[in-house]
């Protein structure tokens, strides 16, 4: 008995240890060898992480080169930044995935649309893969969407997923891509996934795969739908025009029949309405009050200086960001590059990336984007990741985010230089929004569009072309 216990005690760490699993890299990757040389890997090469348990809390991961059957190639152990590695091997799943904590207890479901990275595998308490959920930059996030802070002292966030369900969802992922390929409309039709020609037997499991859930095309956000079509379009001729067509097809009936002139007027009208409601809600909360501390004013999202950000400026920003198409479902030019995922998640009228969105919500001195208006209310209670995608359905929410950021930057500029004129503060806010002093951006927005919009009687349609000339 004693001997059995002793053996169990000795073996225990090995039973619970995370084993290496191999991953195919989706984009080229540079690794660093112990002798300081670097090794460049092309897309589709295979690597596996080693010393997983020891390295989880570190900024780097250790990897080995392997072939497609997980056999070592050169026996060397390379180092690579964990974030960089996560970007290179992450996979985005369309459907939700059931996750478990380290003890095998139910941790909740990960909604579709997140990047996940397979770190390792194990068999306790069931056959599983160890996963990390990551953002666009490869940073780890918790299941509730909160970014992992390495300084928090908390362990690196990992979750277990049953191998069987991981493979099934991996297959569903491929099916979803095919579904988006074969359906051009978003009429709400339920797709018959069995008609996609995907074999019913999972080649990895070697047996019949679970029946995939029907995909209702009304459910995903416009962002998800456009992204779902990407794999069939990227890197191909005509991708840009196809993307535009998909984006146009996703506009609500209120927008889809509008001319560019009408859209420009609608954007200006919406910008005025959104500002009115932001101010109204801020006043109602009793927090739209100037205090003696400039810093506290700058981080109080409810404080909107009277002379600060006006609808005319936000309208000009939208005209500049949407490149003459004025569609709230628009993506960006990195969509068509032949890379695993677009390098930028920017979308909509104001082209906010997921990272910028998350930074606003998780500002160290308080949430800078309280969703307290009717425009942003649908985003309330969602993780930053989900809210960013969902925002693609709500043009008012997109405009509200631009107000929030510009207002913050306007006040921050005032903190650092209280003697600046209003025009200088506005200029600083616009510069903070996009690119530098030398670019066309500031000229188009501040020197061409804004003076036009400020002219009495002018509407959006009188000025939107100013930024394209």
């Amino acid at each position: 008995m004693v001997i059995r216990l002793f053996i169990a005690f000795i073996l225990c760490p090995y039973l619970f240890a995370t084993e290496s699993t191999f991953n195919q890299i989706q984009e080229s990757l540079t690794l660093e060898a112990p002798n300081g040389t670097s090794q460049n890997l092309d897309k589709n090469a295979f690597i596996r992480q080693v010393n997983v348990d020891n390295n989880l809390g570190k900024w780097y991961a250790e990897v080995q080169l392997v072939d497609d059957e997980n056999n070592e190639i050169d026996g060397q152990v390379y180092r690579v930044s964990r974030k960089y590695l996560n970007v290179a091997i992450g996979v985005m799943f369309f459907n939700s995935l059931k996750l478990y904590d380290e003890n095998g207890n139910d941790a909740g479901s990960l909604p579709g649309g997140f990047n996940i990275v397979r770190i390792g595998e194990g068999s306790h308490p069931f056959e599983h893969y160890l996963l990390a959920i990551t953002d666009d930059d490869g940073g780890a996030i918790w299941l509730d969407g909160t970014p992992y802070d390495p300084r928090s002292g908390e362990p690196y966030p990992t979750y277990k997923v049953r191998k069987e369900s991981f493979h099934a969802e991996l297959l569903n992922n491929k099916i979803n891509e095919l579904v988006f390929l074969t359906h051009d409309d978003n009429s709400g039709a339920t797709c018959d996934v069995s008609a996609t020609g995907v074999p019913a037997v999972d080649p990895e499991l070697g047996r019949t795969r679970p029946k995939p859930r029907p995909t209702n095309l009304n459910v995903p956000s416009p962002y998800d739908v456009v992204m779902g079509r990407r794999s069939s379009l990227k890197g191909k001729r005509g991708c840009e025009s196809d993307r535009r067509e998909i984006e146009r097809g996703l506009l609500s009936s209120e927008w889809s029949g509008l001319s560019l002139h009408q859209k420009a007027d609608k954007i200006y009208s919406l910008a005025k309405d959104v500002r009115s409601e932001i101010i109204q809600k801020s006043n109602e909360s009793g927090q739209n009050v100037r205090k003696s501390s400039r810093f506290q004013n700058s981080v109080n999202p409810h404080y909107f200086p009277d002379n600060g950000i006006k609808p005319e400026l936000v309208t000009c920003i939208v005209f500049q960001e949407t490149e003459g198409h004025l569609n709230y479902t628009s993506h960006n030019f990195t969509y068509c590059a032949n890379t695993k995922s677009p390098r930028s998640s920017a979308h909509g009228l104001t082209q906010f990336t997921r990272t910028t969105f998350r930074m606003m919500k998780n500002h160290p001195d308080g949430d800078q984007a309280p969703f307290n208006t009717t425009y942003s209310a649908p985003l309330n209670g969602k993780s930053a990741h989900e809210a960013h995608k969902l925002m693609s359905r709500y043009p008012g929410a997109q405009i509200e985010m631009a107000y929030r950021l510009l207002n913050h930057e306007y006040k921050r500029a005032y903190v650092s230089s209280p003697n600046k004129t209003r025009t200088q503060l506005l200029r600083a806010a616009v510069l903070a929004y996009d690119k530098d002093n030398q670019s066309e951006y500031i000229r188009n927005v501040m020197e061409k569009c804004l003076p036009c919009m400020n002219k009495s009687g002018n509407n959006g349609s009188d000025c939107y072309e100013e930024v394209y000339e």
Partner: protein
């Protein structure tokens, strides 16, 4: 009475200078040219900051607004012969851009500092890196050799 008063005064002083809001994002320590070197990125009052210290002495300091140009991460690149070590720091720029600053840790000098209206491309090889930034959609390429 003083026993109670002093801690209270110290606490209110700390709060008024907002010292408690300093949040470290990423740290690295190592040896460069036989000198102990540290790199720390942290948030303090609306700004993300990065400091490079050699033997405890501040050599390089970067500071950008948190919301529009906040810190993403940094990496240390070492040349194959180990004669050069670069600190490559990644920052956001505006709502959808990126900013990369490269510091030669041996000389403590900024050798590359460019912003881009879209995420930049960084291609690393044994001789150095190629960095591509965007002005609008126009690509601008820079080559840095060790």
């Amino acid at each position: 009475m003083n026993k109670i008063k002093y801690p209270l005064i110290m606490f209110s002083l700390l709060c008024s200078f907002n010292i408690m809001a300093k949040i470290v994002r990423l740290e690295w320590t190592g040896e460069i040219a036989k000198k102990s070197t540290s790199v720390v990125a942290y948030y303090f009052e609306n700004y993300d900051r990065l400091e490079v210290k050699s033997e405890g002495e501040l050599k390089v300091e970067l500071r950008y607004p948190y919301l529009s140009e906040g810190f993403k991460h940094f990496e240390i690149y070492t040349s194959p012969d180990k004669s050069k070590q670069w600190l490559v720091s990644f920052w956001r720029k505006g709502v959808h851009g990126e900013h990369i600053v490269v510091i030669d840790l041996k000389d403590n000098k900024v050798i590359y500092d460019e912003t881009s209206s879209w995420p930049m491309k960084l291609l690393r090889d044994e001789k150095g890196v190629t960095l591509i930034n965007y002005a609008g959609k126009k690509e601008l390429e820079t080559r840095l050799n060790y």
